[in-house]
């Protein structure tokens, strides 16, 4: 049945799809209004558990704060990490935090896909007149994102105060593009991982591991690590493209990264291309989906 093909937006010819439902989401403004209503309802649902909601607001701040604390302690105890000044390293941490804040705001439910599959939610998504990926993104309101973004803004302010960089509009725009690119790289990684959720349970440990690895090792100049590890974290698990490489362009350390300068400079584009490729692969993999109901 064509309605079950999540690769395209269903049309009126789709059998069994109520016309009114389809019309209600046709057109960009109507769609955005619908996304707004879904998000508002998700927000309301989560706010009904007040304690949990407040802890969710705090969670991002505490988790990222702990990792910044880790990075800060190391920076104070081991100054001049890999030839980078404190301000330079803080820029890496700040860009990664802001990228992660963006990721938590838009993509967190991708990493929860295994739970959505397990609870049978995806069966319902396949019957609704909205693209599947978008429905997954809208599954739950990301209350953690506020804390994550706050931590990022705080560290970014400290980094700006300590950085010795001659800012120009181009550099400022590049940093913004780098942050968006970093967000897309993280979103791509978790989206790629979530493909396995169509067939396997127990993916939560992997998504948590990727999150932990990016959060722990994404805050440092990777040139302190051996070449093979650096290569793995650049081309295997492309952590370097999230903050390290774009920050190296801004701070003038591109020559020490071991990556061609043009590739380091193209980090935001790498994020976008990676995301588009992974998203196409994700839709292509929906055919592997196995409903928990058999």
């Amino acid at each position: 049945m064509s309605i079950l093909n999540p690769l395209r937006t269903p049309g009126p010819a789709d059998a069994g799809l109520p016309m009114r439902a389809y019309r209600s989401v046709r057109g960009t403004p109507a769609r955005w209004a619908l996304y707004g209503r879904i998000t508002a309802l998700n927000f309301k649902a989560q706010a009904s558990y007040r304690g949990e909601f407040l802890l969710g607001l705090l969670f991002g701040l505490v988790w990222q704060g702990a990792l910044v604390l880790f990075a800060g302690v190391l920076l104070l105890r081991f100054p001049g990490l890999g030839g980078w000044t404190q301000g330079d390293v803080l820029l890496i941490a700040a860009m990664r935090l802001l990228s992660h804040g963006g990721y938590v705001a838009f993509f967190p439910n991708v990493s929860n896909l295994s739970f959505l599959v397990q609870q049978g939610n995806v069966d319902g998504y396949l019957l609704r007149p909205l693209p599947l990926y978008r429905q997954v993104l809208l599954a739950r309101f990301p209350i953690n994102s506020l804390g994550d973004l706050l931590a990022g803004v705080g560290v970014f302010a400290v980094a700006l105060a300590r950085l010795d960089v001659a800012w120009t509009p181009v550099k400022a725009l590049y940093v913004a593009a780098g942050i968006i690119g970093g967000m897309l790289v993280e979103g791509s990684l978790q989206t790629a991982l979530s493909i396995a959720a169509f067939r396997f349970t127990g993916l939560a440990t992997w998504t948590a591991w990727v999150d932990e690895t990016l959060s722990t090792y994404g805050n440092y100049p990777l040139n302190v690590l051996p070449g093979a590890v650096r290569g793995t974290l650049t081309f295997g698990l492309p952590l370097a493209f999230i903050a390290y490489l774009p920050a190296s362009i801004v701070t003038g350390h591109a020559g020490t990264t071991g990556v061609p300068a043009w590739l380091a400079a193209a980090s935001p584009a790498v994020g976008l291309l990676l995301f588009l490729a992974v998203k196409a692969g994700w839709y292509g993999s929906v055919r592997w989906y196995q409903s928990p109901g058999g």
Binding site: A66, L67, F70, R77, F78, L81, F200, T205, Y217
Partner: protein, 283 residues
């Protein structure tokens, strides 16, 4: 046999026998993990990756200096790697099996905990021991491999090694009670997902699993001394590395035992209250 045919003493004996066999529930962890070999492979891969990345990071940090905060490269690397292995004790993922206390609460299956011939508190304990044994096996494997390859240093003396082992056992008991209190919170809050994750972070920071506590400012370490978290990791590792002298071992162990006693009483009280307010969602 009908219920009427069973006399009360026979019922009591049967119940006691079933209760004595409750330890068998500890096997659930192992059976669940080995039911999908991919999960075992995942744990192995992640432990290996965490160990390697942690080792290389600390080796790199000490490239420009030989001592920092009174710790040399070998001590800092050993501490950091032992911290990674310690996290393995909590490597069991019950999410996928829908076997966390909060999931039982949401599914309504928490009611079964109160209907079995074992008290829910005992059942929780047996299952937690299964989890700790499984995670401990991974930690022991990683320790053995890293010791034999020289990645981590040996304890400063045999006595320090024994003292650290004893302190680790007490530390795990503290960890068990703290985790239990967090899990029990869902009897009041219904959902406690954020609390569970938040506790994990706070535990790792205050126990010194993320960064050795010696690197923190004095006020932070002084404040942390009044909390139970140090006893779960920092104390055993400090004894292992000789940072805490063996002369203070009895005091350190007594402090840990004190926390265990306090937390045991507290959890017993909380269980009693929790039993009186079981919420079975869906009616």
């Amino acid at each position: 046999m009908t219920l009427a045919a069973i006399d009360p003493p026979q019922l009591q004996r049967q119940s006691r026998r079933q209760s004595q066999r409750a330890w068998r529930a500890a096997r659930v962890t192992l059976l669940a993990e080995f039911n999908q070999w991919g999960r075992v492979g995942s744990v192995l891969f992640m432990l290996l990756a965490r160990t390697c990345l942690c080792f290389w990071l600390w080796q790199a940090l000490y490239r420009s200096t030989s001592t920092s905060a009174g710790m040399n490269r070998s001590q800092a690397t050993t501490y950091a790697l032992l911290g990674v292995f310690y996290m393995s004790f909590r490597s069991v993922n019950r999410w996928a099996n829908r076997d966390m206390m909060v999931q039982h609460m949401l599914d309504g299956t928490i009611a079964y905990w109160f209907l079995r011939p074992v008290t829910p508190r005992r059942y929780y304990c047996v299952r937690a021991l299964g989890d700790l044994a499984y995670g401990g096996a991974w930690a022991a494997l990683a320790y053995t491999v890293c010791r034999s390859t020289g990645l981590i240093a040996a304890p400063v003396s045999a006595a320090a090694g024994l003292g650290a082992a004893g302190s680790l056992v007490l530390g795990l008991a503290i960890l068990y009670y703290l985790q239990q209190l967090i899990d029990l919170a869902c009897f009041w809050t219904v959902v406690n997902f954020q609390l569970v994750v938040m506790y994990g972070i706070v535990q790792n920071v205050l126990a010194g699993a993320l960064v050795p506590l010696w690197f923190f400012p004095g006020w932070f370490v002084g404040f942390d001394r009044w909390l139970p978290f140090q006893g779960t990791l920092n104390v055993p590792l400090s004894l292992y590395l000789g940072v805490l002298p063996m002369s203070g071992l009895v005091r350190d162990l007594a402090l840990q035992a004190g926390w265990i006693a306090l937390l045991a009483v507290l959890t017993a009280l909380v269980w009693r209250r929790a039993g009186a307010r079981v919420t079975v969602l869906g009616g």
